[in-house]
C-alpha cells in the first residue's frame, strides 16, 4: 500500500504522470465512448464504478 505519492517530478513534487500518459494515448476516445454510448444505462455504469472504487480502495 502506498505510504506517499509515488510519482514525483525532478524536484520531488508529486505529479500526475498518469494524466500525462493518458493524454499521449487514444485513451480519451475509448473512455469517452465507454461513458457516452452503449446499451448500459448511465446510472448502472456509475453504480458499478462506485462499487469498484470501494472494493479496490480507489479514492476516485
Amino acid at each position: 500500500m502506498s505510504t506517499s505519492p509515488r510519482l514525483r517530478d525532478a524536484e520531488g513534487k508529486p505529479i500526475n504522470a498518469v494524466a500525462e500518459y493518458f493524454s499521449s494515448t487514444p485513451y480519451g476516445d475509448l473512455y469517452g465512448h465507454f461513458w457516452s454510448h452503449g446499451l448500459v444505462e448511465q446510472s448502472i455504469k456509475e453504480v458499478a464504478r462506485l462499487r469498484n472504487a470501494t472494493i479496490t480502495d480507489c479514492g476516485l
Binding site: M1, S2, T3, S4, R6, L7, R8, D9, I15, A17, V18, E20, Y21, T25, P26, Y27, D29, L30, H33, F34, H37, G38, T56, D57
Partner: protein, 172 residues
C-alpha cells in the same frame, strides 16, 4: 459455505442441498455464454460492440507498443497463468512460458523484465500488496512515464483476461 447448501469442491460450486441445479461459475473454454457471438473467439465477442472494440484495440495497441512485444508477451503469459487462461498458456512459446513461470530466478530475464513480472504478479493477486520499494525500483528502471505505461498494460491484462475468461472466449 452458503447456509443450507453443500460444498462440492470437485465442481467448485455451492449447490442446493435438495438436489437442485448446481451453480456454474464459468463455462469451459470454448463454451461461451454469449449465444449471439459467431464463435468462441474474443474477436467474435467484441464484434458485437464494434465501435467500442475499435477504440479498445487502438488504445491497447498503443499501450502494448509502449513496453515492447517481448515484455508484453511475458506479462500476458503470467497473467494467463494467474487467471487460469490455460488455453493461452498452452499456445504460447514454451521458452517464454518457462521464463514467465520462473521469473524470480531465470537468467534470461533482464532487471526490467523481472521487476515488471514481480509487480504484475502482485497487482493481479492483491494490488494493495505493492510496496513503495517495488515502485521505486520500477521508476529507477523505467522512469515515471515508463512506470505508468507498464502499470497500464498490467491493468489491461488484469481486466481483459478476466473479461475473456468469464465469457470463456479464447485469446489473452
Amino acid at each position: 459455505m452458503c447456509a443450507g447448501h453443500v460444498w462440492t469442491p470437485a465442481r467448485r460450486s455451492c449447490s442446493p442441498a435438495d438436489g437442485g441445479r448446481p451453480i456454474r461459475y464459468a463455462p469451459a473454454m470454448g463454451e461461451t455464454w454469449i449465444n449471439a457471438a459467431a464463435d468462441s473467439s474474443a474477436e467474435s465477442l467484441l464484434a458485437l460492440r464494434p465501435d467500442l472494440a475499435g477504440h479498445l484495440e487502438a488504445f491497447d495497441s498503443h499501450a502494448a507498443a509502449s513496453i515492447g512485444p517481448r515484455l508484453r508477451t511475458l506479462l500476458e503469459i503470467r497473467a494467463a497463468q494467474l487467471l487460469r487462461n490455460e488455453g493461452y498458456v498452452a499456445s504460447a512459446d514454451p521458452e517464454l512460458v518457462d521464463q514467465a513461470t520462473n521469473w524470480y530466478s531465470h537468467a534470461a530475464l533482464s532487471d526490467v523484465e523481472r521487476t515488471s513480472i514481480e509487480v504484475c504478479e502482485a497487482f493481479l493477486i492483491d494490488h494493495h500488496s505493492i510496496t513503495d520499494d517495488q515502485i521505486l525500483r520500477l521508476q529507477h528502471l523505467l522512469g515515471e512515464q515508463g512506470t505508468v505505461a507498464l502499470l497500464m498494460n498490467i491493468a489491461m491484462l488484469d481486466g481483459f483476461t478476466k473479461f475473456r475468461r468469464v465469457f470463456a472466449v479464447e485469446g489473452i
